[in-house]
Symmetry: D3
Subunit: 230 residues, 6 copies
C-alpha cells in the first residue's frame, strides 16, 4: 500500500486503438474465453465503446484519494481501472475527476464500486463502467496504490494491460498478448461475417457448423408432439 | 434430456398477435395475477413489445448447444424461451443466433441467463429479455431439450404458450386459456380507460372505486398534524 | 397503523423548488454526506430530476391500498415516498395512479418496491425511482399509514421533508434544515465550478486541492516500473 | 386461486419412506440431474433428513391463510411445500403451525419464503427448509390454493410428488417416477460405495473412472513448474 | 456527525430484562408487526437470546473508531447497535471489543455490517447479530456519532430503545412503549399456549380460530382430485 | 487452459503448519489488510481451522473434471483452491472427492462455487469453505487448468501460496512472504493478548490505545441528553 508506479509499459498505441473497433464478446472469445470482468459492471449510459491502456488503482472502501493521485499518471489513450480492497457502494468518481481525466486524453473509467454525476458524464461523453450508480460521498484519509497489479471485478488487471469496454461489459487483455489477441479477434470477426450472411439467407447453424452428427451421437432424439399433450 | 419435440400446437395466430397491443401488467392482472416471470428479467434495450408462441429450451449451465437445435423448430410468430437447469451468468445468445431467428420470423428471446451483443441486437431490433447482459462464452458439449415444459424465471412455460414481453417484464399465458385471457385483458383495458379519464379530471380513486366506507370499517383514522410534530 | 395525518407542514415552496436545480450528489455532500437513499433505488427512465415535499406512505407488503388514500393528501409540489413494512417485489404503482397524482401537481414517486407501466410513465413524463420494475399485482386488504415518519430504503423520511431525485439517486433533506442545506449546496456548486475550470485547463486536483504534502506525510512513495516487471 | 384439492394420489408409502435413507445429491443425480430446488433454500437447523409426499400450497406474498387450510389436507408421511406467488421475506410459519402438522404426522416443511420460531422448531425436531429465517408477520386476507401444481424455488412440484430434503438441499421426484428413481438411486449409492473404498485406499478417480485417455484427447498437457515461476 | 450523547434515558431495567424471556416473533406481533430489523441480520452462533437498552452508533463505511468511543457510554444491561452510513462488508467488531463490552456488562451487539472472531465470540458467549461474518479490517480515521437516532437494517433505533434478539432475528421496541409492548407480548404468549395445547390434541386452526365461514365467503372451493389428474 | 503444472514450490512446511494456530483475522491484519477472500465464502460446518499450501484449479462453470485431475497433484499439507471461470452454483465437490483428498493428507477445500454431501463432510472432518451448499450435478466435458495463478473470490492465488481458513473466512498469503507474515501475525497476537488483559480489567481502548486527543482534534463533542429528547 502507498506505492505509485510511474512510467509503466503500455501496449503499442496502434494495437490499443485497433481494439476499439472490436466488440467485447469477440475479444473475450478470441483469447480463449478469458479476461471478462464480472457481468455486474455496467455502463452508466448506453452506446459507448472504448479501448485503452490500464492505469490501475487500488483504493480503500469509501476513500477516493488515490484516484486523485492516479490522474497524474494517466496519459492520452489510457483507461483508469479502479478496485476497492473490499466491497464498496460509495460513489468514488464524478464529473470533476472526469473533467481532469478528459483533459489528459483518458478514454474512460472501469470501477468495481459506485460512480456519480451520471447526467453530466453522459453530456461530457466520458464513459464509465461501474457496479453501482451511487452518490455516496467518499473520504480522503487512507493510502492505496497506483499501477500495481489488482483484481478488479474478478479479473487480474496489470498496469498497461489493454482494457476494452462496451455495452456488453469489460474485457482485459494482457499487454504482452495484445497483438496476438487482436489478430485472433479479427479472424473471428471475419468468420462471423461469413456465418452471418448464411444465417441471413435462412441457413441453420446446425448445418453451417455441421452439428447434426455429433448431436445424434450424443443421443438427441426428435419426436412429434402427441395428440393429448399440453 | 436430449429430446426435441416437433410440431407443437400453438394458439391461434390472431390471438397471439392481438396480445401484442396489450401491456404485460394488464394481461397479468386479467388472468388473476399469475404468469409473471421473475422481475429480474429485463429488456436489453428499452421500448420493445412482443407477443409470440413459446418455443421452449432447457439448457445446461454455460452450454448453448440446444439453442442452435431450437432454431430449426421455430417459425414466424414465435418467441424463444430459454432456461438453464441451474443458475448461469453465461451469455448464451448473441447477434448471430438473432440473425438466424429473425430470418425465420421469430419475434424475440426470453432467457433466464445472460445475453450479449446488445448494441447489435438494438440495431437489428431483435428484442431480448434476460437476467444478465453478459459476454461470457458458452460451450457445446451437453444435450438439453427443446419444446418440453420448463420452469423459466419462476414460472412454468409449456411449448405453444403465449408469451408477452415489454418494458414491464414478461408474462406467460397458457395456450388453452389464451383467447379467454385476451378477452379479459381487453375488458380490463377499457375499464381502465374510463378510470383514466376520471383521474385526469381530478377525481380520486377513493371515490371512483368507492373505497371510503370499507377503509373506515377497517379502522382508518384521519388526524391533523399536531403543532409540535416534526 | 391505519392513520392518515392531514395538513402536514412543508418547507417553503421557493426552497423546495430551488433544490430542483441542484444535483443529488451535491446536496448529499452539502449536508454532510447524509440522507442518501439506498443506491438500489433507480429511475425507471433516464433524464428526470425533481424536488418536492414528501408525502410519506407506509404500506404492507403486496398491498397498495394506502397509496390510493395518500393521493388525496398530496398537493402541487409534492413527491410521494412509499415504503413497504417488509421487502416486496410487487408493482404498487402504475399509470392510473400517476395520472391521479399528475392531475394534482405531484412531481414524482419514490418507492422502495416495484413500479409498473414504465412505457406509459415515460410518455407522461411522470418520474419514478423504484427498487424494481415489476408488474406483480397488489391487493387492497390491509391498512397502513400516510404522513407518519417512515424508513425508506435505509433513510428516515418525515412528512414534509424535501426529497430530491435525479439519475444519481434520491436524497432527503429534513424540512427544518432545508434552507440551510440549500445555501450550502449552492456554495459547494460554485466552488466546484471554479475547480472544474482549473481541471479543464489541465491542472491536477493534487495541486488545486493541495494534497501532495499530506500524501507524503502519510507515506506515499513514487517508484519507476522496473525493467523486469510485468 | 381459491381451490383446495382433496384426496390427492400419493406414491407408495414404502417407496416414500425408502427415500429417507438416501441423500439429496444421490437422488438428484440418479434422476438425471433434475428436480433440485434453488440452493438458497436452507435447513433452519442442521442434521435433519426427511422424505414425504408433497402437499402443495400456493400463497399470496405476506399472507399465510392457506397454510392453515392446508393442514387439514395433510396426513402422516407428508411434507408441506409452500410457494408465494411472488418473492416474500415474510415468516409464514412458526411453532404453532408446526405443532398442528406434527400432530398429524407431517414430516417437515419446504417454503420459498421465511420461517420463524427457529429455536422452538429445533427443540420439537420439526425440520424446515426455507429461503429466510424471518419473524415478519403475515396477514390472513387473500385466498391461494392447496394441492395444485406449483413452482417452488425454481422447480415444478405437483401434489403427491416425493420430496426429499437434507443438509444439501431439497429435491423433488415426480410421483409416477418415484419407484424407478429410488431404484436408480440405490444403484448409484452402491457404485459409490465401491469407489469410496478404492479412494480410501489411495486410488485416483483418474484411474478408477478411466479418465486419462479422454483428457489427453481433449489436449490436457502436463508441465513442470519453471525455475523462475512464482 | 462527531457527537456523543451521554446519560441517555433507558427503559426500566425490570422491563428490559423481562423481554429476555420472550421470543422476537412474539414481540414483533405484539407491537403490531413493527420494529423487526432486516432478516439478513443473523446471529454469528446459534442459541443466544438477549434483551437490552440500545446504545446506538453511526459509523462511516470501513471505520470502527466510534465503536471504541461508544464502549465508554455503555453500562450493564445495554446492547450496542451499530449502523454504517452506507453498506459495508467490513469486520468492525471482534473479540477485543467484545471483551471490553463484556467487562461492562453489555449483553450483545447488533450490527448492519460485518463481525469477526466468531469462534472466540462463541467461546466467550458474547452474542452478535450481523449482516456478514467478515475479517475485513477497518481504519480509525473519520468520526461518526454515538447515541443519536439511527436507521439500522431498515428500522429506526433511538438510544435507550429496547432491543431483543434471538435466532429469529432482532426487534426494536420504542423506549416509551416498552412496558405496554411487554404486557401485550405476554398476553399473546398466553393465548398461544392455549392454542398450542389444542393443536397438540389434533384440533385445526380452521376451527380453533374459526376461519371456515370467512374462507367460504371469500370463495374457497373444495374439490376432489380427478381420476386423470397428474 | 488445459495445463497441469507439476512439482510446484511450496512454503516451508513448518511455516505452513504454524499458520494453523493463528486466526484468519489476525493474519489478514498482519499482512496489511490484504489477502482476504470474499466474505460470502463460508465454512460448510462450524469449528474447523486449517492452513495449507494452495493447489489451484481453474474450472469451467458446472464442470468438475479438473478437480479429479488436481487430486493427483496434491500432497500432505495442501489445501485445494478452486475457482470457476464464471459464477456457478453447481456442487463441484462431495464426499468421494473428499475421501480421495483425505487419503493424500489434503487438509481442506476452498471453492468459489458449490459443495455437497455436507453431512458426510462433517462426519469425515474434511472442512470446506464454499459460496454455496449445492447438490447441483456437474459434467466432465471441458478442460481447465491446475496450478496456474487464479482469482478466487476476489483474490489472486498462486500455486504454493499459503491458505488459512477458519470460521471467519479464508486468507491467502503469498508464498515468498509467508515467513515474514507469520512473524508479524505472532507479534500482533502477543500485542492483542496484552490489550485483552487490560480490557478484561475494565480499561477502555480510548485509553489503552490513546485515542482521546486525536478524537478531540478531529472535533468529537460530548453532550448530555436534553430533557425533552426522545
Amino acid at each position: 500500500m502507498g506505492i505509485v508506479v510511474r512510467n509503466i509499459r503500455r501496449a503499442d498505441r496502434s494495437v490499443v486503438d485497433a481494439f476499439g473497433e472490436l466488440g467485447v464478446a469477440t475479444i473475450h472469445e478470441a483469447q480463449g474465453r478469458t479476461g471478462l470482468l464480472d457481468v455486474r459492471l455496467r455502463p452508466v449510459y448506453p452506446g459507448a465503446r472504448v479501448s485503452g491502456s490500464a492505469v490501475t488503482v487500488s483504493v480503500p472502501p469509501g476513500d477516493n484519494w488515490m484516484i486523485h493521485v492516479a490522474v497524474e499518471q494517466c496519459r492520452a489513450g489510457d483507461v483508469l481501472v479502479v478496485a476497492p480492497t473490499s466491497g464498496s457502494e460509495a460513489g468514488y468518481f464524478g464529473e470533476l475527476l472526469a473533467t481532469a481525466l478528459q483533459a489528459r486524453g483518458v478514454r474512460g473509467l472501469v470501477i468495481d464500486a459506485g460512480c456519480r454525476d451520471v447526467p453530466e458524464l453522459a453530456r461530457m461523453a466520458f464513459p464509465v463502467w461501474s457496479r453501482y450508480v451511487s452518490a455516496i460521498g467518499t473520504v480522503k484519509e487512507t493510502l492505496g496504490s497506483v499501477n500495481v497489479p489488482i483484481v478488479c471485478a474478478g479479473q487480474s488487471v496489470a498496469p498497461g494491460d489493454v482494457v476494452v469496454a462496451d455495452d456488453d461489459g469489460v474485457v482485459v487483455v494482457p499487454r504482452r498478448e495484445a497483438a496476438q489477441v487482436l489478430a485472433a479477434s479479427r479472424v473471428r470477426e471475419e468468420r462471423e461475417a461469413v456465418s452471418r450472411k448464411r444465417y441471413q439467407a435462412g441457413e441453420l447453424s446446425l448445418d453451417v457448423q455441421d452439428m447434426r452428427e455429433r448431436l445424434a451421437r450424443k443421443g438427441l432424439r426428435y419426436v412429434d408432439q402427441e395428440a393429448d399433450q399440453q
